[in-house]
Symmetry: C2
Amino acid sequence: MMTDNFTKNIDKYLEYDENLRLRIKIEKLENLIEATGLIASTFKLDKLLDMVMEIGMEMMNAEGCSILLLDEEGEKLQFVAVSGKKKDDLKNMTIKPGEGIAGWVVKNGESLLIKDVSSDDRFSNRVDRKLKQTTKSIICVPLEIKGKIIGAAEVINRKDGRPFDEESLSLFRSLAIQSAVAIERSRLYADLNDLFFSTIKTLASAIDAKDHYTQGHSERVSEYSIEIGKTLNLDENELTKLELSAMLHDIGKIGIPEKILTKKTFLDDKERKEIQKHPGIGARMLVPIKQFGEIISCIRHHHERYGGGGYPDGIKGEAIPFFSRIIAVADTFDAMTSNRPYRKAFSSKQAVGEIKKFSGIQFDPKCVKSFLKASAKGKIKNNVHVPRRSAPAAQ
Amino acid sequence: MMTDNFTKNIDKYLEYDENLRLRIKIEKLENLIEATGLIASTFKLDKLLDMVMEIGMEMMNAEGCSILLLDEEGEKLQFVAVSGKKKDDLKNMTIKPGEGIAGWVVKNGESLLIKDVSSDDRFSNRVDRKLKQTTKSIICVPLEIKGKIIGAAEVINRKDGRPFDEESLSLFRSLAIQSAVAIERSRLYADLNDLFFSTIKTLASAIDAKDHYTQGHSERVSEYSIEIGKTLNLDENELTKLELSAMLHDIGKIGIPEKILTKKTFLDDKERKEIQKHPGIGARMLVPIKQFGEIISCIRHHHERYGGGGYPDGIKGEAIPFFSRIIAVADTFDAMTSNRPYRKAFSSKQAVGEIKKFSGIQFDPKCVKSFLKASAKGKIKNNVHVPRRSAPAAQ
């Protein structure tokens, strides 16, 4: 009878343990679901990768986590995030598909749970040396989108010293599925953003190129404006709007007769009035693009003067959109430091002097101050013919 | 003693039930995680909403599911998905924040679990009549992004006749969190896509407008090309590429001297050679935009002739990119049905006759056939001055 009772109790205790195990699993799944919402909520790849690492390490109670992505050719696996390492340290950290644990996982498209790497031939010391770590136990899972492997994620060494188990593997695999989707979404968005900016740049450049004296003008004005904007501590969002406004500030020139745009001598009054229509034409052109919003008035007002007397509306001071005031400085600096048919380019020093002289008259003193700061730091360079830049990283 | 034993057994049975309950919960959470991956994997809002509804109904074992989104002004809640209803039926289905259960949830930003709506004052029969349903039990949760309510999701009536419980509410809330994130991502992507297309259209129109005889040309060529493409059963992805190629086919005209572009009399040989540079200029301009890929050669070759003898490369037949062959038909049709300084526009019938005549000589017979089909269906209309269209829905 006693034995019988004892068995009964053991059963009951196991039952209790089993429930505890289930409860812990439920908690982990609920955490994973919450984490998934976080991961999906950003399009910024860097931020996303950092989140995945943080969540992965906490959820797996792991000492380290890293994420690798395949390049377009599928020939190199790049470490894009490694716990404890900064992004800049990762630049040369690549391995080949097939090399080490992660390479094996990517090549074979299968997850690996290795309780002790010292007894596994696939393990490569080279990766450990690269990452300055000592792997004991590891889980590595492929990152996969619609059957295509795009990389791998791995965690190493449980903090409690025990090896990873099947349950950890299943949980980490779930995280990897969600992460792969988010990475792919982030890349698609970045790609479209990049396409949009490249297109804007290309078309603005084509308009500048109608007159070889203004070749590269919009791109330079955009670069100078961004430097001023950074000095003014504008955030990423504002810098993007500023960049678009600057890139498109002269887009209205497409509506100005070519013979006036490219005239080699001074313009007469009638011609000057004609060319002064370009900010208004540009703004009107872009009105149907609802997302441009305030960018449109920034374009309209880039030839207003801080002290009044500019065009098209003759508004002054703070009534002029802030980005227009920034662009006015950048635009004038680029015009002065570029050759014109009727005069040679000013030196950078001369042009800076002129901008200073007209602070408060033509230009907003705040913008001039930031321009001077950026210029003193060597951020604003009058390379008359800059090569075409590639599109900026997606915001 | 007997009472004692009995109590012990009850405990044990409850323990068993608890265990079952936990296992069921784990299964549901695992399903939710899988569902989340699916939801996040599309940017297409319609597809995404359908998925959320399907998953919601299955997960909740519910008779019905609906999703409402707030309009930009926050004044109307639009039913954007209702189980058993087609998208077209939902157009006029709106309620106000505050109205009915969903209106209450959106207004207060709180979830509701109502086991029996007949005893709840917030319940509105009007919504039931609108949706042709009889609600007994309901769960309604807000869709929320970073503290901002964007809408609500609701499920009604458990299929087993029992009312919903707290556990169902918690699960549905998790689904709603993931769905809200996915909806927001989808909208951001659509918005950027829309911005990109609007910008392309605006700039292409501006170039067409340099010569008032070609005003609206690129947009019409794009519309005609898409109709031909649809008749050829191109998929969404291909139609997007075709639209971009058609919209940008004349972009190289930006590099052609205005006096040649707008000349009112016949062009001499030298001028004709000059203007024939535009496909090459356009293609070269766009080379830096890596995402354009094959679109670039479609632009380069839109003036080639199927039988040879076109420009710039004189290639023929299938060597000409397929989209260029489509655009060639659309482009010629629009040119013929538009006025020119030296001739009046052809009638649509005359122009169709000409296109037919040159099938196999100037045009790909497949494209001509599809053009004729689309034209016979009234899909290709020579409205010489079409008003500016809004951007197409995001792909």
